[in-house]
């Protein structure tokens, strides 16, 4: 088939209707996910000291930064579902900036931790925390992957990583709202590290599931 014939065929098929913009996709995803998280929180109940904790500026800032990570990661993932990254390739670094700020806020006391603290937390074997984060993150993560797949992703690892970061950071936020445990070693070992691992898995899943063929 020569190029002219191909063009004639494509013209007969016609152009497709454009997707909703990434900002709109993000807002819809955030609205749906917030509803889902609120429902789960209402079912499980929040930690008993939530009123005191919300009065603590550091805790409030931690939650705000987690929400900022989730929303910026979702926006970056939806932009990355376009071949040209919606002509904002820098956007994928914004969630990483929020991630650093959040780590500095939430784990400012980490340098004082000893190896014994970490070891003690590790041996406690609280697998229910990463499991809960994973269970909360899977449905919104899958929805985001499905929306991204409707596009034409070129940077599929980035898109997968951002989608996972967006979903898991909301899972982390939810755990902070319901679990009455502020032990730093526990938060690092059973919350933060599993999220990083999930993001690595998300990048690999992105490479397999989001690649535009």
């Amino acid at each position: 088939m020569d190029t002219k014939q191909l063009i004639d065929q494509l013209v007969i098929e016609g152009a497709q209707k454009p997707l909703p913009g990434p900002m709109r996709q993000t807002l819809v995803w955030l609205a749906g996910t917030s509803l889902y998280v609120t429902t789960l929180t209402a079912y499980n109940g929040v930690r008993s000291d939530i009123a005191d904790k919300l009065g603590n500026p550091r805790f409030a800032l931690e939650l705000v930064l987690l929400f900022a990570i989730a929303s910026s990661a979702a926006l970056a993932a939806f932009c990355l579902s376009r071949p040209d990254a919606h002509q904002k390739p820098w956007l994928r670094f914004v969630p990483l900036g929020f991630l650093v700020l959040w780590a500095m806020t939430a784990f400012s006391g980490a340098p004082e931790l000893t190896a014994a603290d970490i070891l003690q937390s590790l041996t406690a074997g609280q697998f229910d925390c990463p499991w809960n984060i994973l269970m909360l993150s899977v449905p919104p993560g899958v929805v985001m992957f499905l929306i991204i797949r409707r596009g034409a992703t070129i940077r599929c690892c980035w898109a997968g990583g951002m989608a996972t970061l967006g979903a898991t950071s909301l899972g982390y936020l939810w755990m902070r709202m319901i679990e009455q445990n502020d032990n730093l070693a526990h938060l690092i070992v059973w919350h933060a590290v599993p999220i990083l691992l999930m993001c690595v898995v998300g990048m690999m899943a992105g490479h397999m599931a989001l690649r535009w063929r």
Binding site: M1, T3, L6, I7, D8, L10, V11, I12, E13, G14, A15, Q16, K17, P18, L19, G21, S81, R82, P83, D84, A85, H86, Q87, R150, G151, A152, I154, W212
Partner: protein, 172 residues
């Protein structure tokens, strides 16, 4: 593109005709072989059509188009490099074997080549003839044989290996 997304097919056709020379020049900088370059241009046009829904009319079209073109071109080059990464035995090498004095003394080149090709399974023989004698690209051969491009390349690679081995045996 804005008009095309609103259903204007004439504008869609005009767009493709306008961008084809740009894509041709973009691709030919990296792919020298004309039929191969034209295949890549067609692949890019098809990708632009398939990804048309991801274009935001509020943003420059060319940036979006060249992002797709670069991706498809790199994809194509990656495929080529991956294939040449294997030990490659071409029919040109086989020609050298054929051209060696002890072989040409015994028989005519084309007769020898025919005889060598006849030792291959029917499918492999047809692929080698199409690609190396008739000069078709792997893509064209794949379409004619109703096979995937990679399957054609693998079959051709195996056939070259067999032919080279047989040529060496004959030489001994």
């Amino acid at each position: 593109m804005r008009l095309a997304q609103q259903g204007d097919r004439k504008a869609y056709g005009a767009l493709f005709h306008a961008i084809t020379p740009l894509l041709r020049s973009f691709v030919s900088n990296r792919v020298r072989n004309y039929p191969e370059a034209e295949d890549v241009v067609q692949e890019i046009l098809l990708s632009i059509h398939r990804a048309g829904h991801t274009y935001d009319t509020g943003r420059p079209f060319k940036t979006w188009m060249f992002a797709i073109a670069r991706y498809r071109l790199n994809d194509h080059l990656r495929r080529i490099y991956r294939n040449t990464g294997h030990s490659h035995i071409s029919l040109e090498d086989l020609d050298n074997e054929i051209a060696s004095p002890d072989v040409t003394e015994r028989r005519d080149q084309s007769e020898y080549l025919d005889q060598m090709l006849s030792t291959l399974p029917k499918k492999q023989r047809k692929i080698v003839v199409m690609m190396k004698v008739e000069g078709h690209t792997a893509e064209e051969t794949a379409i004619a044989m109703n096979m995937s491009v990679s399957a054609v390349k693998v079959a051709a690679h195996r056939a070259y290996k067999v032919l080279a081995r047989k040529a060496k045996q004959e030489e001994r």
